[in-house]
């Protein structure tokens, strides 16, 4: 019984900027040996999106596509460059919405065989928490999910 691994969705959000190395290592570990294509996606809530548009000096409400905004994002650019270095094919996507459902929708759309996300956040008290995004993705993903922790 073989299990397919053609498409890997690596979904990042604003909280993943400080664990790019771990995410990069994790996605390469999975995608490179299998010669899989990576869908490299950045998810933004509405507020986060407005913030990024502002930072990247696009006009809020302008006609720029989320895919384009994601491509300009530093986290995506760094991850993309790591993938390119290891000759892993990838496509960049951006989506706007609640993180959990957005990731699940992307996985469905891309027909992903694996989803990779950062799995832990710190609560204000410094406790490692299993947030609503992780829960939503774990319970609704159409394929297995790899949770990657950062070296916090």
């Amino acid at each position: 019984m073989t299990v397919a691994l053609e498409t890997v969705l690596l979904a990042v959000g604003p909280g993943d900027a400080d664990r790019i190395d771990e995410l990069s290592e994790a996605v390469l570990e999975v995608a490179a040996p299998a010669d899989a294509t990576v869908v490299l996606a950045h998810v933004f809530t509405d507020d986060e999106y407005d913030e990024v548009l502002d930072r990247l000096e696009f006009e809020t409400g302008s006609d720029v596509e989320p895919d384009e905004v994601a491509a300009r994002h530093s986290t995506i650019r760094e991850l993309g460059s790591d993938l390119a270095e290891h000759e892993v094919e990838y496509d960049v996507r951006g989506t706007v919405g609640d993180h959990g459902p957005a990731i699940v929708d992307l996985a469905l759309e891309a027909d992903a065989d694996r989803v990779l996300v950062g799995g832990r956040r710190r609560s204000p008290a410094g406790k490692a928490v299993f947030g609503s995004t992780a829960q939503e993705v774990l319970l609704s993903s159409p394929c297995p999910v790899t949770f990657v922790r950062g070296n916090e």
Partner: protein, 207 residues
């Protein structure tokens, strides 16, 4: 690179897909699979009945059998204690590179909640944790039907069943039906989803 992949299992139906994926991952990386089952222990000592330890052993033996069929190296372990603590301790001690597990386990009430062991491992493990949701519903959900399919398989094989030689168990979605045959004791494993049957000769006191 994954050299050692840990597959925790409690033998529940929910582990059928996670074991399949864990083995596929191990196969791809030529890694060793570690099958681990933890007999839960509460603050006053072992919670479960006498059934718990044999059930845990059956759970890990099942993974080993499936690994062998795929040519994947496997080791098995049964521990007693707090499940997530034992799993984390094992992962540390054995240099595990990834953990592959289901999302619900035995106490899964419905699909709205994540099992507590899974949640804790995602939060606390030092290595990537791959979660695999329950797959297809079982098509064979009663013992008699499993026995019938098992008998047919033995007939086809030319070693018809003489008698059922013990209890019929369902482990990780696979029915295990032990028989006495002309060829000695044989066990037929019937996959509860695909209905495929595989025959295993039982070695006396296999460890």
């Amino acid at each position: 690179m994954y050299h050692d992949v840990l597959i925790p299992t409690d033998g529940s139906d929910d582990t059928r897909r996670s074991i399949e994926h864990g083995l596929a991952i191990a196969e791809r990386f030529d890694a060793t699979v570690h099958a681990l089952s933890v007999v839960p222990e509460g603050p006053l000592g072992p919670l479960e009945s006498e059934e718990a330890t044999p059930a845990a052993r059956r759970a890990v033996d099942h993974v080993e059998f499936e690994a062998r069929r795929r040519g994947v190296d496997a080791v098995t372990a049964v521990r007693q204690g707090v499940p997530h603590e034992e799993i984390l301790a094992y992962a540390d001690a054995e240099g595990i590179d990834a953990i592959v597990m289901g999302t619900q386990g035995r106490t899964g009430i419905d699909r709205v909640l994540v099992g507590s062991v899974t949640e804790r491992l995602v939060r606390m493990a030092d290595v990537p944790v791959v979660t695999v949701r329950l797959g297809d519903k079982l098509r064979i959900d009663d013992e008699d039907e499993a026995e019938r399919i098992a008998r047919d398989a033995l007939e086809e094989r030319g070693t018809p069943a003489q008698s059922v030689a013990g209890s019929i168990h369902r482990v990780s979605g696979t029915w295990r039906v032990p028989f006495e045959t002309e060829d000695g004791p044989l066990e037929v494993r019937v996959d509860g989803v695909t209905e495929e049957a595989a025959v295993d000769s039982l070695e006396a006191d296999a460890e």
